[in-house]
Structure formats: structure tokens, C-alpha cells
């Protein structure tokens, strides 16, 4: 199942539909730490296997999306990374160490696992104060992260009065408190308004651009397409793919070319002979396996007429549907639910 490959030297190529550019790491030495490695990770709840023999790694310097439908085991995996749930088999390590053995956990791993993991009667500032005390973090960090997430004005209000979005911001502030190299975010945009979603997206990319490891789960495929560079895709607790976003899109049907021609029949046989697959859709041909220039050259060689030639880029969503299609039992139950109700 392992299909991952290393990042290209200059960073990942960009998708043309995104405007949030991922800038490659800044020049200079970047400490090569912050690797998350899961090996044969398994977690059962009674008769249900929530996470099933899951092996993957998450690297520093890019946003890795953790994609899967609701109930596919993302949160359980996240909880096992920080030791909240104990695996039944396998392991997950941070730079080769179990989370519980980190000397100063908040300085190494920041986690937002839950929108409301704070006491509603405590103020935002006091929540961060006790958290800072656990890992001997200086008091100034509390004010710094409050500023970073834009909660200074409400820092002395009870966190229970916060909106979901403000709660998420407080959770992000808590994750950033120890200036960690590894950041875990479980569904960070849940309940956020469009501005908040954009803020989180930009923020995650900035954190990755600083060389940090950013692992962010979501069931929102299109959000992942805008945020992530790499993907770990799971379904029913099992690994479906571990790859870059572009590779994943390419694998799941990849690009196609839409061809308008009056010479349909001869063109189709020429294309098939050249190794492409052809589908007749609404009077146009949809060609897979050949690029637009290849089709153009073929037309020139055989004297066939082209009235239109349009590359069609597959979306991450298409790829996701295509690849999870093969999972046993998968399409009929989980995919339908996740695809139909992205609000969940």
C-alpha cells in the first residue's frame, strides 16, 4: 500500500486552482527533526477495528493532510500519536520516541484534538498559564500566542462563553504555546466561518514553511486540496494512499483531454492504437492516457481534424472517489455519507 515518494528538490509543484502558495523552506539549515512514524498501528474498540495495521510517516516542512470519511479512524490515530489512546498493536513515534517519553512534550508537539478541550469557567489566559507551567514555558509565551491567534481582546473572558471559532483559536494557541516542531490538528476548520477557514489554511502553510511538521486531519476533501502538500488517506482504519496531492490526483484517473472532432471513428481507433482510452461523451471524446500535445501530433500525422482540445484536470475529490471505490464495502456505506454531507 505504501506509495509515498520523496518531495521534489524544489518543493511540491502547485495545483493551478490554488492561490495559497506553498513556499519552499527558507534557506539555511533546518533541523531534520519532527518526523512522525506510525508502524502497524492498530486500535480496536470491542468488535470494531477503528485503526487497522496503519503504517505511514509524516515529514517536516510540509502540510500533510490526513484524509478519510467520518469514522475512518483519523481521530483515534491522532489520539494515539499523543498517547491519549493506547494502541492494541503497533506503535507511533515522534523522532523515534513514544510521545510519553518526550522531555518537554509541549515544546516538541502541539496538538489541537478537540475544539473544547478547556474548562468553560477558566479564562483563556489562565488556561494558557497553567499549560505553560507544565512545561516551564515563560509567561510571555501566553501573551505571544494570544496575539498570534487574535484573542488578546477576550483573553480574560471565560472560555466557556467563546464561540466555536474562538474556541478553535484558543486550541490553536495552546498548540503553539511551546513553539513545537510538530503540530497536529484534528478537523481544525470545523465550525469556522469562511474567513476563519482561510485564516487556518494560511496559518498551517506558514507553519510548514517554517520547517515544521504539520499533520492535519479532515473529511473535507476540497479543503485538503487547498491546504495540503502530501496526503495520508485512510478508509475504515486502513491506509488507502500515502502520497503527494498531485500524485494522488494523477493516480485516481489523473488528467483527461476533451477532444472535439468531426472524425470521431478514425480518431478513436488511432488514439486506442497509440495507447489511450477513449470514451464518447456528448459528441466529444474524453481521452485518458495521452496528453494534449500527443493527441495534436497524432492528428497531424494522420490528417485528422481537431475542433477543440481541452485538458481536464481531475480534482482531489474525483481521485478520492475513484480510489476508495475499490475498497470492499466502502462505497455503499461510508463514502456516500461523507460525500453527501460535508457539513458534518
Amino acid at each position: 500500500m505504501h506509495t509515498g515518494s520523496g518531495p521534489p528538490a524544489g518543493g511540491y509543484p502547485h495545483r493551478k486552482d490554488t492561490d495559497q502558495r506553498y513556499s519552499p523552506r527558507p534557506a539555511g539549515p533546518v533541523p531534520c527533526t519532527g518526523m512522525i512514524t506510525a508502524h502497524a498501528l492498530t486500535k480496536r474498540f470491542g468488535a470494531t477495528t477503528a485503526v487497522d495495521d496503519l503504517t505511514f510517516e509524516v515529514r517536516p516542512g510540509c502540510v500533510t493532510g490526513f484524509l478519510g470519511p467520518n469514522g475512518s479512524g483519523k481521530s483515534t490515530t491522532m489520539r494515539m500519536i499523543v498517547g491519549l489512546d493506547l494502541p492494541d498493536a503497533g506503535s507511533v513515534l515522534i523522532d523515534g520516541k513514544p510521545f510519553a517519553e518526550l522531555a518537554w512534550p509541549l515544546r516538541e508537539v502541539g496538538a489541537l484534538l478537540d475544539a473544547k478541550a478547556f474548562h468553560p469557567a477558566r479564562t483563556a489566559r489562565n488556561h494558557l498559564r497553567w499549560l505553560a507551567a507544565v512545561n516551564d514555558l515563560p509567561r510571555r509565551r501566553v501573551d505571544e500566542v494570544l496575539g498570534q491567534v487574535g484573542l488578546e481582546a477576550v483573553a480574560d473572558r471565560r472560555a466557556g462563553k467563546f464561540s466555536l471559532g474562538m474556541g478553535q483559536r484558543l486550541g490553536i494557541a495552546a498548540a503553539l504555546l511551546g513553539d513545537p516542531r510538530v503540530l497536529l490538528f484534528d478537523e481544525p476548520v470545523n465550525g469556522l466561518d469562511p474567513e476563519g477557514i482561510r485564516w487556518v489554511r494560511t496559518f498551517l502553510r506558514e507553519l510548514a514553511a517554517e520547517g515544521r511538521t504539520v499533520f492535519v486531519s479532515s473529511h473535507l476533501i476540497n479543503e485538503m486540496a487547498l491546504t495540503a502538500d502530501r496526503l495520508v488517506v485512510i478508509g475504515r482504519g486502513r491506509l488507502i494512499a500515502e502520497t503527494s496531492v498531485d500524485e494522488f490526483v494523477a493516480r485516481g484517473g489523473g488528467g483527461a483531454v476533451r477532444l472535439l472532432t468531426p472524425d470521431g471513428a478514425p480518431f478513436a481507433s488511432a488514439l486506442t492504437a497509440a495507447g489511450g482510452t477513449v470514451e464518447d461523451t456528448d459528441g466529444a471524446l474524453t481521452v485518458k492516457g495521452l496528453t494534449a500535445p500527443q493527441i495534436g501530433d497524432l492528428a497531424a500525422r494522420d490528417g485528422l481534424r481537431i475542433h477543440g482540445l481541452t485538458p481536464v484536470t481531475a480534482t482531489l475529490e474525483d481521485a478520492f472517489m475513484e480510489l476508495t471505490h475499490d475498497e470492499v464495502d466502502f462505497r455503499s456505506t461510508t463514502i456516500g455519507a461523507a460525500g453527501a454531507s460535508p457539513k458534518e
Partner: protein, 268 residues
């Protein structure tokens, strides 16, 4: 981000950091102040009322009268509110989700729990001993003012009764903390606490008088608070105060230990 932490302190987080964090947690909840405030007001109010009620009786009434027990008897109320306080310290973390944030900052669970127990025990002990002392002084002042027999800290057994009562009530809070660890739910923990401390004596009364003397409330009122020997006519011979306190410590230790096993082994 411009601000970064360049220096990581040597070593690793230890119980000192956990104790500091848990102290901040305890002091930054308004419910702490409210609980303690209610406890002080209710306990001292009952002390004044019961001490006042013990005034101006016939000489017959004052045979075997224990002015110390009379004054500090209201600490039973602190036992109830202390139980609620002890349970809330841990169940509040589960109900709010704070426990996940706590464990992600201090994942060594035995260490984290040790820190929590230290903070709970120290806070409860200091508070309960001081409150017992205040209750004693106030009650004796009322008794003395009304011309009834009264005691002072120099009276035989009085200081012992005050200190041991404070410790005993603190142990009740710790027992409740242990129940909170076991049940992770405020309602379940408080129900169990009230059951053990306040309902069990009523039930035991009808079943076994010999068993009755092992019940925490009986240990408190008949042994720890008492400075006057019960007559030989008593059906149930109370334990000596020190034994009663040790028994209570054993109860608390067993429940906290059971809660600790669950806390360390189970998913958070």
C-alpha cells in the same frame, strides 16, 4: 512567526511543574472559591447554632458533655462539601475535556496523577485543619460566653481532636477524588461519595452494629472528634482516634489506588 523559543531547559518536566500547573488550575476556577466560601460560612454558622443550642441546660445535660466535639461537630458539613470539591477536581477535567489537554502536556500519567494528589491533599489538609480550628475557637467562645462547660486547645485531647478532624475531613475529600478517578463523572462520583459517607451509616445501623463502627462518619464523630470516653454501656465501642484516622487513610488510599490503576491503563 518571529518569536521562537530557542532555549529548552535541561532535563525533563517533573512533579514540580505538574504541581505548579495544578495549583494554577485550582486557583483559577471561581468554583473553588465558591465551594470553599460556602464551606466556611455553612460550617461556622452551624457551629454557632449547635453551640448556642447547648447553652442553658440542666446539670443532668452536661454529664459526659464533650465541649470539643460539640464545637467541631459541624465539620461533617465540610466533609460533604469537601467531597464535592475533591470529586470535581478530576471529574471537571473529564466533563470539560481539559484532561486531554493536560495529558498532551504531561503524558507520564503516574507522575501527573502524583502531582494532582499532592495538590489536592495539601490544599484539603491546610483548609480543613484551619477550618476545624476556627470552628473549635468559635464554638468554645459561644459555650464560654453562655456559661456552659467549655474547652480550650490546652484541654485534654482538644488539640488532637482538632488536628485529626482536619486531617480526617481532608481524607474524605481525597476519597472523593479517588471516586472521581474511578467514575470520571461528577454525578456518579458524588452519588458514590454521599452513599458511602452519609447513606451507609443509616443502612448499616439496621444490619450490623459491629460493622457500623467501620463506617467513615462513625469513625469521625465517635472517635476522631471525641475527647470524652464513652461509658461501658455503649453498644458499639469506638476505635481509638489514631486508629480511626489510619482506617480512613486506608479507605482513601484503596480508592485512589483503584482510580490510579484505571487512570494509567485506560484510554483518556
Amino acid at each position: 512567526m518571529t518569536q521562537t523559543l530557542t532555549t529548552t531547559p535541561p532535563g525533563r518536566y517533573r512533579i514540580r511543574q505538574v504541581v505548579r500547573a495544578e495549583t494554577i488550575k485550582m486557583l483559577t476556577l471561581r468554583s473553588t472559591a465558591v465551594m470553599l466560601g460556602i464551606t466556611v460560612v455553612a460550617t461556622l454558622a452551624v457551629t454557632v447554632l449547635t453551640s448556642h443550642a447547648a447553652l442553658h441546660h440542666t446539670a443532668q445535660y452536661y454529664l459526659g458533655f464533650d465541649p470539643t466535639q460539640q464545637a467541631i461537630g459541624a465539620m461533617v458539613i465540610a466533609g460533604l462539601t469537601g467531597g464535592v470539591f475533591g470529586a470535581l477536581l478530576i471529574t471537571g477535567e473529564y466533563s470539560s475535556g481539559t484532561i486531554r489537554t493536560t495529558l498532551a502536556a504531561a503524558p507520564r500519567r503516574p507522575l501527573l496523577l502524583a502531582g494532582k494528589v499532592v495538590v489536592t491533599a495539601v490544599a484539603a489538609t491546610v483548609f480543613c485543619v484551619l477550618l476545624t480550628l476556627a470552628s473549635f475557637l468559635l464554638g468554645e467562645a459561644v459555650l464560654a460566653g453562655g456559661g456552659a462547660p467549655h474547652a480550650d486547645l490546652g484541654s485534654p485531647g482538644a488539640l488532637r481532636a482538632v488536628v485529626l478532624t482536619g486531617l480526617f475531613v481532608a481524607l474524605l475529600a481525597l476519597l472523593s477524588f479517588g471516586l472521581g478517578l474511578l467514575f470520571r463523572s461528577t454525578a456518579a462520583a458524588i452519588a458514590a461519595f454521599v452513599g458511602i459517607v452519609f447513606v451507609l451509616p443509616l443502612v448499616m445501623h439496621g444490619i450490623s452494629d459491629a460493622g457500623l463502627r467501620y463506617v467513615p462518619t462513625n469513625l469521625l464523630t465517635n472517635s476522631v472528634m471525641s475527647t470524652v470516653n464513652q461509658g461501658p454501656g455503649e453498644l458499639v465501642r469506638p476505635f481509638p482516634p489514631a486508629v480511626a484516622l489510619l482506617l480512613m487513610a486506608l479507605y482513601a488510599a484503596v480508592v485512589v489506588a483503584a482510580g490510579a490503576v484505571r487512570f494509567v491503563r485506560r484510554d483518556a
